[in-house]
Amino acid sequence: MNDESDLLATIAQGVVHLDVAVVRTSVESAVREGISPFRIVAEGLSQGMRTVGALFRDGELFMPEVLVACDTYYAGLQLVQPLIEKDNGRIAKGKIVLGTIHGDIHTVGKDVAIPVFRAAGFDVVDLGTDVADEAFVEAVRQHQPDIVGLGTYMTSTFMHTNQTVEALERAGLRGQVKVICGGPAVDVRAALKLGADGATDNAWEGVQIMEAWMAEVRE
């Protein structure tokens, strides 16, 4: 057990230290040791990104390091991705349709958050950046998700949330999904006023919120 957590900690440290070689070898060992691919991502790779995110917020790291950390994270992810896909027996916790809201072109937060959600057991459909309200509507029709995730990285685009929500309402789809906003400028009370069901500036808290929603649904 201890070996497993050591190995997962080594993976996380590898991401923080931007060390692709360490990440690759420790992910490979973890797979050999039989640690589940979900734990490798959730407790190894994602934990590393979480630390990187915190260091960036605190001004200890800059964007070039964050981007290299993302590459390192993805290098590890690539090794476990095929195993996750093979794991057919897995029952998804829920389905999320996620995109960056209209007018917003920030991509990094979404690209970090999506693997975290997948690692937690959600199916995620990535709609990309600067997604029009109608495209969210179309995607909800097509994919029938449980949750719509809006990447809102600026105050101005966060304030656009009500329009995306209204578009879902007009299409008669609002009742069948929960809506969550994510990004550094969100405010939970404002998000509720704008018609969303939740908001967070942290992907891991996002998982907790969405897990609670899915638990409600099952009850």
Binding site: G59, F62, M63, G103, T155
Partner: protein
């Protein structure tokens, strides 16, 4: 020093303008929509903003062309209208200026990261070249490369802007690091001064990302690192959401009082970025007048 800039800075600090995006939003531009589009669809509203700045006392006003480069507008219905948007932007500001203020045209970032290979240096240079040429042909007197997060992207824009022979200002956002004295990529004011000077800027500076108090130190450090004129446009603090509306807390009077410290720290051109409006410029004008 570029002749036009020498002319301006010869008689003390020069007053530039304030924010445009928030002013257009106040006139009905929906959140998330591209302000530059209004140069073609609502030129009257854009001119109103420009005129308000001239009336408030701006000696230099910018143009509503921040996003009008081919890369930033790619994939939108405006993609093939860059030249027209840039031309109209300069024409609108010139009409509003009516000879009472100079018109320096705004060139903002592409929105793509060089670091991730989303865009290459040459692609950036070409796009900025196209924009700079349109702006110059329409009669801009200077070009302001602003709100840059990456000094290499700023370099691409400054190099392109220089080919027009107009005065070129290069400004970066300092909002990162523990002390908020670094760019997104981690460059200090000293490093930025060197990089933008090497790129060929006629004046360098900082805008957006922070309030005026926080830019005093950055301004002083730029001053110590260069002989070029310094251009500073801080935000009216950072946006907060109050009762479902975006608010900037700094008042025009507070802004103007703090801006005096920017002048003391060596700023030659002062104005405001996000959250500021013509009242801020008017308050700045009274302050700067009182000093003289």
């Amino acid at each position: 020093m570029h002749g036009l800039l020498r002319h301006f800075t010869g008689s003390g600090p020069v007053l530039t303008d304030g924010a445009w995006g928030t002013q257009l939003a106040a006139r009905g531009l929906p959140p998330g929509n591209c302000p530059d589009a209004w140069n073609l669809s609502r030129p009257d509203a854009v001119e109103e903003v420009a005129r308000a700045y001239v009336e408030a006392g701006s000696q230099i006003i910018l143009t509503n062309t921040f996003r009008a480069n081919r890369i930033a507008l790619a994939g939108t219905e405006l993609a093939d209208r860059c030249a027209a948007i840039n031309r109209a932007g300069v024409e609108i500001s010139r009409r509003a200026a009516g000879g009472k203020a100079a018109v320096f045209a705004s060139m903002g970032p592409s929105g793509k990261l060089l670091l991730t290979g989303e865009v290459t240096f040459d692609e950036l240079r070409d796009a900025f070249q196209e924009q700079a040429s349109s702006l110059a042909a329409a009669g801009a007197e200077g070009l302001v490369v602003e709100t840059m997060a990456d000094a290499r992207e700023a370099r691409a824009a400054i190099e392109a802007a220089r080919t027009t022979g107009l005065a070129v200002i290069g400004c970066m956002v300092f909002d990162s690091g523990k002390l908020h004295d670094r760019t997104l990529m981690g460059d200090t004011p000293e490093v930025v001064a060197r990089k933008l000077t090497e790129a060929g800027a006629d004046a360098i500076g900082a805008n957006c990302g922070q309030g005026v108090e926080q830019y005093v130190e950055v301004c002083g450090r730029l001053r110590d690192a260069t002989d070029l004129p310094i251009w500073i446009k801080p935000n009216a603090g950072l946006p907060e959401i109050v009762d479902g509306e975006v608010r900037y807390r700094t008042t025009p009077a507070d802004f103007a009082a703090a801006a005096e410290r920017l002048v003391d720290a060596g700023a030659n051109f002062v104005g405001g970025c996000c959250g500021t409006n013509p009242e801020f410029v008017a308050a700045l004008r009274s302050r700067l007048h009182a000093r003289q």
